[in-house]
């Protein structure tokens, strides 16, 4: 079973994606998902993610394969946006389907930690009419280090 890994250059319908994923993996007793979306806290006006085509999707696919090798999953979904987004827009959707919920929780957690700290994306935010590149956070590296 291969992971369903996609780099999306336009908005995706996270609810429809998740529904289809759950229906496709009805043998799994549990589906855990994480949705990352652009914060609508009034400060950020827009967000843009840039990727590097030769590396970004191949890297996401390698991550998917690593997750499948580490946990006994029935299915794995990794969707990540590139391009311009507005507050409330989905950025990333990870879902893991497994016979037992702990495997699904751990797999989704691992996938997110590695997407944040390793995937080939560069993010900038627009606030007060000015674009600013977002620097990597130490917490993201610490989160990834938990997995050894």
């Amino acid at each position: 079973m291969a992971a369903d890994v996609r780099l999306c250059t336009a908005a995706f319908d996270h609810a429809a994606e998740l529904e289809r994923f759950a229906r496709a993996h009805q043998q799994a007793g549990g589906v855990v998902s994480f949705l990352g979306q652009v914060r609508a806290d009034g400060a950020v006006e827009a967000l843009e993610l840039q990727h590097y085509a030769p590396l970004t999707l191949p890297g996401m696919e390698a991550l998917g394969a690593a997750v499948l090798a580490r946990w006994p999953l029935d299915g794995l979904l990794i969707l990540h946006r590139s391009g311009a987004m507005l507050p409330g827009d989905p950025i990333v959707l990870v879902a893991a389907a497994a016979r037992h919920r702990r495997d699904a929780f751990a797999a989704a957690d691992y996938a997110m930690d590695h997407l944040k700290s390793e995937s080939w994306f560069w993010k900038r935010e627009k606030a007060g009419g000015t674009w600013r590149w977002v620097e990597p956070r130490a917490e993201d590296y610490a989160d990834k280090a938990r997995w050894g």
Partner: protein
């Protein structure tokens, strides 16, 4: 000619996402750039990809039509 690609904030510093440069040894290519840009590209946290493949070695010689991408620390998710 060879081509340099600048990802993320490096494109702001370079004034564009890519630049045509004369082929040749990378240290000579960098020496011909603006000093602040060259300094940013030499940052050890900046990774490089030659024609789409990550390369760890910086003692490169850029050939005709080679594309060298400079990849600053990522900030995804």
């Amino acid at each position: 000619m060879a081509r340099l690609l600048f990802l993320g904030k490096l494109a702001d510093l370079a004034g564009g996402a890519e630049r045509e440069v004369a082929a040749g040894p990378l240290d000579q290519v960098l020496a011909a750039l603006e000093p602040d840009l060259a300094l940013a590209l030499l940052d050890e946290r900046v990774r490089t990809a030659l024609n789409g493949e990550l390369v760890g070695e910086r003692a490169l010689v850029l050939g005709e039509d080679d594309e060298l991408a400079f990849l600053p620390p990522v900030s995804g998710g």
